[in-house]
């Protein structure tokens, strides 16, 4: 395998595994920027993945090729609705946000399998015929060299997610809404005194996290799996959480962190087939993504840039 071929193989793999991480991580960004820790991203992904797979299977006979897209929209909505539980518990009831998030994860794992049992009479959804397929991106895939590496045999959803990261950056840092969201996460008391409705902003933050995590879960199951099972998400929500911290709660940082995690996983896979690397033992490559992550965290660590009021419930009377 020469270098050009190596790049051609690894880039599409990186994009494929990075997309769900980035999407979910952007969701976490909205929630945490508004001051609500969301450890329930994994569970929200499961809900999104389950819903999109189920809807895809159910509408396939009538909608055909369109069905995964209908599935994705359903998955996004389901993620948003499910996140309302987290929003209500942690904003209105002022419960511990970590515990609420953990409850979301546990609940989602059980609930999705239970619903599969009811709908499909088995502990997983039926296999879908139409998923999100790898494809050539029109025009861009014709660019020499770059076209082959970045725009050929890729999922269109990967580029949608990258575009979303840029939009999120604009929204969070360049609009009044973004300013309010960040203010609520930094100093809710001050924001409140300026007439910003803290509860409303936090609700919006958490619901957006549900929508994005739902999208991440949908992309993951429809592009990588053949059905939703209890293994479909396998910890990606937590990796997204790590990417959020690694990316310092910044959309472009999150984009970079997601691509980095995707790349290191892909490298772990592909290294077996690079002649001089394949002499090393298997275990080396399995540990590889994690070792790279630790190294990167050490190298890039510095002042933590998390929102200051993160994890603290806001009590209006307590000023």
């Amino acid at each position: 395998m020469d270098f050009i071929q190596f790049i051609k193989i690894i880039m599409p793999l990186t994009l494929a595994s990075a997309a769900p991480i980035i999407s979910t991580s952007l969701g976490g960004l909205f929630s945490e920027r508004s001051g609500v820790v969301n450890i329930g991203l994994e569970g929200l992904m499961m809900i999104g993945a389950f819903t999109s797979a189920t809807v895809t299977v159910l509408v396939e006979p009538s909608l055909g090729v369109l069905s995964p897209w209908v599935g994705i929209i359903a998955g996004i909505i389901a993620g948003g609705l499910f996140s309302l539980i987290h929003a209500y518990v942690s904003i209105n009831l002022r419960a511990d946000q970590v515990i609420s998030g953990t409850a979301i994860n546990l609940l989602a794992g059980g609930l999705t399998i239970y619903l599969c049992q009811i709908i499909f009479n088995q502990q997983r959804t039926r296999t879908f015929l139409y998923g999100i397929k790898k494809q050539e991106i029109p025009f861009l895939s014709d660019i020499p060299l770059i076209g082959d590496a970045f725009f050929s045999k890729v999922h269109i959803t990967s580029f949608i997610v990258i575009l979303l990261a840029i939009i999120v950056w604009y929204v969070v840092f360049k609009t009044p809404f973004g300013l309010r969201l960040r203010a609520v996460g930094e100093h809710p008391g001050a924001a409140d005194s300026m007439g910003i409705n803290v509860y409303r902003m936090r609700y919006i933050g958490v619901i957006l996290s549900g929508l994005f995590a739902g999208l991440g879960g949908s992309i993951m199951v429809l592009s990588q799996d053949i059905q939703y099972t209890h293994m479909s998400i396998h910890g990606t929500g937590f990796i997204a959480l790590a990417a959020l911290i690694f990316g310092k709660w910044h959309p472009i940082g999150v984009l970079g962190a997601g691509l980095f995690f995707g790349f290191s996983q892909a490298l772990g896979v592909i290294a077996f087939q690079v002649p001089f690397l394949s002499k090393l033992p298997y275990e080396f490559f399995w540990a590889f993504p994690y070792v790279l992550t630790i190294i990167a965290l050490v190298v890039f660590s510095g002042k933590s840039a998390g929102p200051r009021a993160i994890g603290k419930p806001y009590d209006k009377g307590e000023r």
Binding site: Q123, K134, K153, M220, S223, Q224, D225, M231
Partner: protein
């Protein structure tokens, strides 16, 4: 309103009575079968489902009723294994069946506490006097799908994806490579172990890398991780590439179905856990339960093999596989089960 309601209730009663009359099940409860699933669930399309089908087949033939002569308990987490196995022991079930290596430790612990109960573990060995361990000659079945792969490849490169690297999965690997080699020694077999049975994304990436390097048939022995490989094969076939994937444990033809109704799954290496369950129930019923023994189901017992229906295989290839099967059963071919034996085989 009241009248309508009472009419409804009466009619339900009558229907209930009629249904009662139609009882066609046996009343004899002197012999009962219990089955404990692992966390995969009763309909995992794999071991649990297969074993349960074997139990059901036996039950149907003997007019048993679920819940009366046979039933299963679902394990929702690994901590449930011991209580679930014990529950059947406490109820004096005659035979208690579990499938998969996950049950190794729990069965070792539970079996000695119920010395009068016959325990069966499928696809794992537990050394207890009242446990029958049923294992499979996976290398023989894998040899057959290796023949299919060798006949299907046009690039002369085939791939093997293993779940976790240990002796059991190496049996699949060795048998598969031997099967390929027997048809055409010039075909290259590329292998990779995922290190995980439950990561579809990883399976997809490994498959993608292999296909990109010219492999056109992949055999996976990787459970959920293999689902990703099936996804990759589906996607590529729909984009017009002539690639295949070979399923494992159960007939995975349905899993590879694409929009045009065809499947990307060439064939599957089936472990007939249903045969194992059926045979053990029969043995226990006849009082010939092989407690403490290891029973290896081979091609000769139809314990492993390819599905009966193979829409993606030519008749000639199916015929050739049949011929190889006969040779293996007759002992003319000794299929290697380890990498060392494979090296000797290839020489």
């Amino acid at each position: 309103m009241k009248k309508a309601l009472s009419l409804l209730l009466v009619s339900i009663l009558v229907i209930g009575l009629l249904a009662g009359c139609a009882e066609k099940y046996s009343e004899d409860v002197s012999f009962r079968v219990g089955f404990v699933t692992d966390t995969g669930g009763i309909d995992d399309k794999s071991f649990n489902q297969g074993t349960w089908e074997g139990v059901q087949k036996y039950a149907e033939e003997n007019k048993w009723k679920e819940g009366r002569q046979y039933k299963y308990i679902q394990s929702n987490e690994e901590a449930d294994y011991i209580p679930n196995l014990s529950a059947f022991g406490d109820d004096n079930y005659n035979i208690v069946i579990a499938a998969g290596f996950l049950f190794g430790d729990s069965m070792t612990e539970v079996a000695p506490q119920y010395p009068d109960t016959n325990f069966t573990i499928i696809d794992m060995v537990v050394a207890q006097p009242n446990v029958a361990s049923v294992v499979f000659a996976e290398e023989q079945g894998s040899f057959l799908v290796g023949v299919a792969a060798a006949r299907a490849t046009k690039t002369k490169k085939v791939g093997f994806i293993g779940g976790v690297d240990f002796d059991l999965i190496r049996k699949f690997h060795a048998g598969f490579a031997a099967g390929v080699h027997s048809v055409d020694p010039t075909i290259e077999v590329i292998d990779q172990y995922a290190g995980d049975f439950g990561n579809p994304g990883l399976g997809q990436q490994i498959a993608s890398t292999m296909y990109d390097q010219g492999v056109d048939v992949i055999y996976h022995a990787a459970g959920g991780t293999g689902n990703g490989a099936i996804n990759e094969a589906k996607g590529r076939r729909e984009n017009g590439e002539d690639v295949w994937v070979i399923g494992v444990d159960k007939d995975q033809y349905e899993d590879g179905k694409m929009a045009d109704g065809k499947s990307a799954v060439l064939t599957s290496m089936m472990k007939r856990v249903d045969v194992a369950a059926y045979n053990m129930i029969q043995a226990a019923k006849d009082g010939k339960f092989p407690g403490g023994e290891i029973i290896a189901l081979t091609l000769a017992d139809d314990g492993v093999g390819i599905p009966e229906e193979n829409p993606n295989l030519d008749k000639a290839v199916v015929k050739e596989i049949e011929d190889y099967k006969k040779k293996i059963v007759a002992g003319e071919i000794k299929v290697p089960a380890t990498m060392d034996e494979l090296a000797d085989f290839i020489k």
